[in-house]
Structure formats: C-alpha cells, structure tokens
Symmetry: C2
Subunit: 151 residues, 2 copies
DNA sequence: ATGGTTGCAAAATGTTTGCAATGGC
DNA sequence: GCCATTGCAAACATTTTGCAACCAT
C-alpha cells in the first residue's frame, strides 16, 4: 500500500500537535470513515455512515474536520456538483476525469504531457498554479456504440 | 461582431416559440443585461443591475430565465466557486480558466495544443468528448507578489 | 380564454457559526 | 486547569418552489 492507514493517522496526529489542535475520538472516526471510502464522497455520506454505526458525530464536526483534512491534503475537493461539494481521498496520485454524460461513469487518467503543458501556460500568464481540475464530458465507448446501434 | 445581439435575441425568441414558452419583458431585460456583461457574472449581479435601473425583475425570475438560457447555450455555468454559481456568456470561443484563490480573479486562456492533447487522450480511452472544463487554481501575479512582499 | 409567467414568501439545501458544556493534554 | 472541541440550534447563503394574480399569445 502506497500510504498506509497507520501512516496517515500518524501524519494527522502530528499535524494536529503541530497546530496546537487536539486528537479527538470524533476526528479519528471521521478519518477512519474517509479512509474506508475508496472513491468520491460527500459530507452526507460520512454523517450517514457514522450514524449507522451509532457513532455520535455531528454534521458540524464533520465539516470542521474536513476543513482540517483539506488543509493537510488528506482530502481534496473534487468538484461542486449540484451545489454540493464532492471530496476524494487526496492521497492517490493526481489524475483527471473523463465523465460519461450518458451513464455517469467516471474514468480517471493521468498524462504528464498535459501537466507540463499546463505549467507552461501558467508561466505565460505569470500565474502560480496550486492545483487544477480537468473534466472532459462526453460518451464512453459503450454508450457511444449503443447510441450508434439504435439510430 | 461574431454574433450580434439582434441574432441572439432572435434565437431566443425562436427557441421560446418552439418550446411553447413566452417572450416577456422580464426575459428580455435579463438577456439584455447578460449581453451587456462582457465577462463572468453571477445571479446577484443581474438582480442588482436591474434593480438599479428600476426594472422590477425578481430573483426567482432571474434564476428561471438563466435555466432557459443555459439550455439554449446562450450562457454557460463556468464553475461553482465558494458555493455559488458563476456564469458566462456562452457565445464566445471556447477557453479555459485560471482562477486566483486569493482575490477570485478569473483569467481566460485558450491553447490549441492543450485541446489537441485532450483529443488524443480521449482517443486512447475510446472516449468521445463533447465538452470539457479545465480550471487551474493558484495565485495571480498580483496576489503572489503581495504575499511575498509581506513575509 | 388559455396556459405559461411573475413576484412573493416560504421552503429547501448546503454550509457556517455562537455558545455553553465537555474533555484532551 | 486551560483552552480547543463538541453538539446543538440558529444563522447564513444560494437556489428552488407553491401559489394567486397576471399577461402574452
């Protein structure tokens, strides 16, 4: 495993200590829940899972903890979709998304040329990039084939 | 002018007729306001401008009209930033965005190499692209300089 | 006159915040 | 014991919606 749960937990604890924050059961539960989630998630997912497990963690605490985890880089905001924020575990290698507008499938990809080209563009505009998000919308192979079969 | 205001207005009227919708003074005022805006805008900008001109158009109507204009392709949602939607006139040539996380400034750019590279990537994944959105977050020159001045 | 449209206010949604009680360290 | 943290509810911000009056066609 690239980054073990143990290591992440330690990073989290160290970060909290460094920032003079406290390691609480709630924060631990939230982190655990996020680590269990392999893909994308939103606040409500975490609240719901914890409630199901009879762990009492308030929605406010989830929001507050996510803010910390975001600062730490353990989670990233992926996108605001339908007025709500979607997060992902930020430990995986950076990647972009191909999103099928028909079936909703999300294909992840990474292309270093693309990354370099973006850096060059930023330089041209004297812009100092911190992160980026590329979403390409269209039809995945299956949906494209199906569509052409029918018509 | 690539697409005159007159033509857009006509497109709008035709679309409304086709969809069995009505051309109302409010819809005309909203469209005019949007056409006057050269760059990005949000709902509040439109509401505020119209109020200043003593044109009585409710916020609800602005939202409802924007939904129509979005379907028609006259406006596009650019991003959801800080939980609010930012729009732009959708008639301009395709471009991507550099977004300053400090001052919120949005810089537009277009790079044909980038477009071609994306097409290639899609081909590699047998994905048939229809549109895309690239947002690069970071610091604009001014904010970057200011930040480094202080510390 | 018919049926879409409007403004309003209320509701819905997602997120943030003030505060008293709690609990890490 | 200090001070960050928590849960709660209230506050906020944006967007959506129900409804009665209205108006474009």
């Amino acid at each position: 495993m690239r980054s073990s749960k143990k290591k992440i937990l330690n990073d989290f604890k160290e970060y909290l200590k460094r920032e003079n924050l406290k390691f609480t059961p709630q924060r631990e539960e939230i982190l655990n829940e996020i680590l269990k989630t392999k893909g994308h998630f939103e606040v409500e997912d975490i609240v719901y899972s914890l409630k199901n497990k009879k762990k009492n963690v308030s929605r406010a605490t989830v929001y507050r903890t996510l803010a910390i985890l975001k600062d730490l880089g353990i989670v990233n905001e992926v996108i605001k979709y339908k007025n709500k924020t979607i997060y992902e575990l930020g430990l995986t290698k950076h990647h972009d998304h191909l999103i099928c507008v028909n079936c909703g499938k999300i294909i992840e990809f990474f292309n270093s040329k693309l990354e370099k080209l973006q850096d060059k563009i930023c330089k041209d505009y004297s812009f100092h990039p911190m992160s980026h998000r590329l979403e390409i919308y269209g039809l995945c192979k299956d949906c494209y084939d199906n569509q052409n079969k029918i018509s």
